[in-house]
Each structure stands twice: as structure tokens, then as C-alpha cells.
């Protein structure tokens, strides 16, 4: 197993008619991880994904898939990519099976009938695979889309806004499915979304972009540990001014309605309470302000251009 990232962007810029859509973007997706790509609508997510899958040209920079430069050795690079860009468009006038045969013929190495049947089973379409795709529901099309993307055992599955147009139960099914598939097939997944909740539930790490620029890379599962160091703790007391004086070593700030906010570790809280009590200050409420990913996202994108 090599340590090279499955997908790597190096200083990628895309300009359309002189207008920069994506600027100096660099990131990499490691083997086996689910990587989120987060940004408000129009932030350049789709453009970036189009560049990775070879639908758009790259103005500057380099994109590597399994170490192959996608412009110089496109064929080798694309052999490792499975993708659904926006909606899972299929040939409605053919059956699900014909669609899969069609895409299997486009793979660089031959795909056996058994492999196709295994994937069909994996996405739970066995019952409908002989029907024309135009009779499929959106959820079924979505699953057929995943099937075509997985046929050739790619090392990266790229999904652009996969939950667009799905109802909540559909979204949930898709999410569970993807996590399951990532495990079963041992592949990395790059998933873009403007919905933070989606990214939060699906991904290990996420990149935040806005107006085509890198804003931050966040590690979703590590977040509680990170925050454990310095928590923002809010006390509600009867004498805010006095409390602030007592707690000035912990960067105390006085808020409205008798609220005092400090920065402290969790283990320090009991000691702070006894300090306040010793000064005869009454405490009504203590509240640890865990910063949600949502807050961080909005803070990062400065409220965002989201509608």
C-alpha cells in the first residue's frame, strides 16, 4: 500500500473568460477516507469536480489521480475514477442492465458479467435491472448511477451534490449506502455539498471553499478533542462585574443579563465555581458553548453568500 494520495490538487486555478472561478486550490484525498467538499452555491465546487473528472480544462496547476497527471496521462488517471457529476443521467430508453453493459464496455480493463451482477446486488437493483431506466424512481436512478461509477472498481468515487432532489429518507438511504460501500469496496469518496449537515454526517475531513478560494480544512471527527483544550464557558450570575473581576485570569468578558464568558478547560470548572461561591456570587447557570460545525462554517465563510 502506497502512501500517495488518491487524488491531489496542486495549486489549481480555473479562469473562464478571464474571470477566476477557482484560485490556487490545493488539497488531497487520502486512501479510504470520505472527504467532504463544502461551500455555498457558486463557490466553485462543481467547477473543481469537473476539472478532476476531465470535463473542464485546467487553466493553471496540476491534478493527480493515483499519481497520474490527468492532462498528461488521462487514460490511466480516469481508469481509477468513478463519478456522478450532478444528476445521475442514464439512457432512459435502455434497461438498467443495458446501461451498465454500456459503461462496462468503456472501462480500460474488461468487466465480467459476475462483477456487474455483484454491483447490481450491492445497490439493491436486482429486481428492476431488466426494466427501462425511464420507469425508475429518482432514488433508483441514483443507485444505478452509483453502480455505474463502481463497476470498474475505482479507487476514488466522486459525487457532486449527490443528495440534490432526494427526499429526507432518500438522503438517509444514500448516506448509509455510501458509508457501507466505502467500507465494502475500500475506496475513497470525494463528496461535494452545500449542506453542512450532510458533510458532517458522511465525512472524515472536509474542505471549505468560498468564491473559489481555500478557506479551511476541517477534521470532523477530531473536532471534540481539539475543542477540549480551551472551552468557551458561559456563567450566568447575579453580579456580573464582580464575577468578571474574580475570573480575569481566564479572559473573562462581561455579557448581557449577568452573563460572563471565559476560556477554560473543562477540569477547571469546579474550581472556578468554588471561587465564585467564596465571593458570595450566586450562579444560576453554567453552559459550555460547544462550537458547532455550522458556526465554524458560517464564521469561515463570513455568514456566507448562501441564500
Amino acid at each position: 500500500m502506497s502512501n500517495t494520495p488518491v487524488v491531489e490538487l496542486r495549486n489549481v486555478t480555473k479562469k473562464i473568460k478571464g474571470k477566476p472561478i477557482v484560485q490556487h486550490l490545493s488539497f488531497s484525498v487520502q486512501r479510504g477516507e470520505v472527504y467532504g467538499f463544502l461551500g455555498p452555491n457558486g463557490s466553485g465546487k462543481t467547477t473543481t469536480i469537473r476539472m478532476i473528472v476531465g470535463l473542464s480544462s485546467i487553466t493553471e496547476g496540476q491534478i493527480l489521480v493515483e499519481g497520474h497527471d490527468i492532462t498528461k496521462s488521462r487514460s490511466q488517471a480516469m481508469a481509477h475514477v468513478g463519478a456522478i457529476v450532478e444528476n445521475p443521467e442514464m439512457y432512459g430508453y435502455m434497461t438498467g442492465m443495458q446501461n451498465l453493459i454500456h459503461f462496462s464496455r468503456m472501462a480500460s480493463t474488461p468487466i465480467s458479467k459476475e462483477r456487474i451482477m455483484k454491483i447490481v446486488e450491492l445497490v439493491e437493483l436486482t429486481h428492476a435491472i431488466k426494466q427501462k431506466v425511464k420507469t425508475y424512481s429518482l432514488g433508483m436512478r441514483q443507485r444505478l448511477g452509483i453502480a455505474q461509477a463502481l463497476l470498474h472498481s475505482p479507487s476514488i468515487l466522486i459525487l457532486d451534490e449527490p443528495t440534490n432532489g432526494l427526499d429526507p429518507s432518500g438522503i438517509r438511504q444514500l448516506r448509509d449506502h455510501l458509508r457501507y460501500l466505502a467500507k465494502q469496496e475500500n475506496i475513497s469518496i470525494l463528496v461535494s455539498s452545500h449542506l453542512l449537515s450532510e458533510i458532517e454526517l458522511m465525512c472524515d475531513r472536509a474542505l471549505v471553499i468560498q468564491e473559489g478560494k481555500f478557506i479551511d480544512e476541517i477534521s470532523i471527527h477530531n473536532q471534540p478533542e481539539e475543542a477540549a483544550n480551551a472551552l468557551s464557558v458561559e456563567f450566568e450570575v447575579d453580579q456580573a462585574a464582580a464575577a468578571t473581576a474574580v475570573l480575569q485570569d481566564w479572559q473573562a468578558k462581561t455579557g448581557d443579563h449577568g452573563k460572563v464568558t471565559i476560556m477554560a478547560e473543562k477540569s477547571e470548572i469546579p474550581r472556578l465555581v468554588s471561587l465564585l461561591v467564596a465571593q458570595d456570587i450566586s450562579i444560576y447557570q453554567i453552559h459550555i458553548k460547544t462550537e458547532s460545525l455550522e458556526d465554524r462554517f458560517l464564521a469561515l465563510t463570513k455568514g456566507g453568500t448562501q441564500s
Partner: protein, 272 residues
């Protein structure tokens, strides 16, 4: 190898569409009806006709349907992928864009040839059943055309079919080229149909100028060079002094320019 699989895919897609099934059924039905009408109502003709003459007759009457089918295929094969959004699914795979484009082009030519072959075989079969393989129209008069029609051979009829192909390939290529460049199937179809109907006139007018000899329409009827009166279809070469090879060079040039620019545009274009 992978290129052949791409062609296989394109042909599967063409044949899964309802319009292809309709087209072939229509063609088969019309030929059958023609045979029945001649047998039942034009008994004078039926008596003197054999399967070869019937086969000649069907291409003369229904050739334009195949032309129309070819032009529609050429106009749709790329634009439909854009319309359905499936173009993205094709271009995110290992095959290069140029090989995808040419697999589509080749499939159009194969389908046109297949349609001709189908018409030829079906007409011969029905002709044989309805009119037999006996003596054809015996002409008392010594008019070369009638004489030749009276003594048609299988080879002449087959060549007659084959010589329809170059100009149809040209029109289909024109349709394919326009569709690829502008992504508009209606426009492509219109351009090709206009060329189909006005090609001879444009060619004829251009012959008054020095550049007339570079106009493709003056070289498209390659059959004009044939020795057979039947295959010539009443035409003679526009520039007999330049010869068949010059005509072929002009045709190849036009094809190369259309296909080259299609490939260039298609491989450079960002897919939105």
C-alpha cells in the same frame, strides 16, 4: 479494441431508440406495399419485371428515406448526449474524446450502410417472391438505357446501391459536423437538407467561376464516371478533364476538414 467496444455501444444506443425500430419497420412495410401494388394493380409491369428491376425501383423511390435517416442520425448522435446530460458519463472515462467522437461518426456510417443493405436484401427477397428471377423487360428498341435495364445483372444493381453511398456519407458528415460544432440538431438537419436539395444548383452555378472546380457538389456524383448508363443516372462529370482521382481528392479534403474541425472543437470544449 476499446474503440470497437465504443462503436458497439453507439450502435446499441441507436437501435434501442424507438425511431430506429420505426424507420426499419416503415422501410420494410413500404417495400412490401410497393410489391403488392405492382403485383395487384400494375399487371403489365409485373409480368415483365424480375427481382433485379424491383430492387432498382425501390432504391429510386425510397432512397431519400435512408438519406433522411442518415441525416437525422448524424444530427442527433452527439447532440442527444448533451440534451440528456449523458455526455458527462461518456467523457469521464479512460477513452479520449476524439475516439468517442469518431466511434459515433463511424456508427452513423455503419447504420447508413446497414440501411442500404437491408433495403437491398429485403427488396431482392420480396422481388424474388413476387416477380421471380426470370427474364426482365425485353426492349425491342435499341435505346441503351432501356436495353441495360432490360438486361440488369446482379452486379450492376449492387453497384447502383453502393454508388449511392458517397454523397450520402458526405451529407451525413455535414450534418454530424454542424451538430458537433453548434450543438443544435435542428440546425444541423436543416443545413444538411438544404445541401441535399440545392447541392446540384449550387454546383451548377459555381461552374461559371474558376473556383467551381473546388466546390464539393461538382464532385459528389462519383457515379457519373461509370461506364454503365444505369449507374450514371443521366449525369456526366462536371469537370471530365480533371478526372476521377481529382474528384476523390476534393471529397477527401472536405471530409478531412469537417472531421478535423469537429474533433478539435469537441476535444477542447468544457462540458457544462
Amino acid at each position: 479494441m476499446i474503440f470497437l467496444r465504443l462503436v458497439q455501444n453507439e450502435i446499441m444506443k441507436i437501435n434501442s431508440k424507438r425511431q430506429s425500430i420505426l424507420f426499419f419497420s416503415l422501410l420494410a412495410g413500404l417495400v412490401l406495399i410497393t410489391a403488392i401494388i405492382i403485383k395487384a394493380y400494375i399487371s403489365d409491369l409485373a409480368l415483365v419485371m424480375n427481382y433485379l428491376q424491383f430492387t432498382m425501383l425501390t432504391i429510386t423511390i425510397f432512397g431519400f428515406l435512408i438519406t433522411l435517416f442518415g441525416l437525422i442520425l448524424g444530427a442527433q448522435i452527439v447532440t442527444d448526449e448533451y440534451k440528456d446530460g449523458t455526455i458527462k458519463q461518456l467523457l469521464i472515462r479512460p477513452s479520449s474524446r476524439v475516439s468517442i467522437l469518431f466511434s459515433k461518426y463511424l456508427s452513423v456510417l455503419i447504420m447508413i450502410t446497414a440501411a442500404y443493405f437491408f433495403l437491398f436484401v429485403w427488396s431482392s427477397l420480396l422481388g424474388f417472391i413476387f416477380f421471380g428471377a426470370g427474364e426482365g423487360l425485353a426492349s425491342a428498341e435499341k435505346i441503351p438505357l432501356l436495353e441495360e435495364i432490360g438486361n440488369l445483372t446482379f452486379t450492376v444493381v449492387f453497384q447502383f446501391y453502393l454508388t449511392e453511398l458517397p454523397s450520402l456519407f458526405f451529407l451525413a458528415t455535414l450534418s454530424f459536423f454542424t451538430a458537433t460544432i453548434f450543438k443544435r440538431s435542428a440546425l444541423a438537419l436543416s443545413v444538411a437538407i438544404i445541401a441535399y436539395f440545392s447541392g446540384k444548383v449550387i454546383g451548377g452555378l459555381s461552374q461559371n467561376y474558376w473556383w467551381g472546380e473546388y466546390i464539393v457538389f461538382n464532385h459528389l456524383p462519383l457515379y457519373a464516371y461509370s461506364d454503365s448508363v444505369v449507374i450514371q443516372r443521366f449525369s456526366s462529370p462536371a469537370y471530365p478533364e480533371l478526372g476521377l482521382s481529382f474528384s476523390i481528392i476534393i471529397l477527401v479534403l472536405y471530409f478531412a476538414i469537417m472531421l478535423g474541425s469537429s474533433a478539435l472543437v469537441f476535444s477542447k470544449r468544457d462540458v457544462a
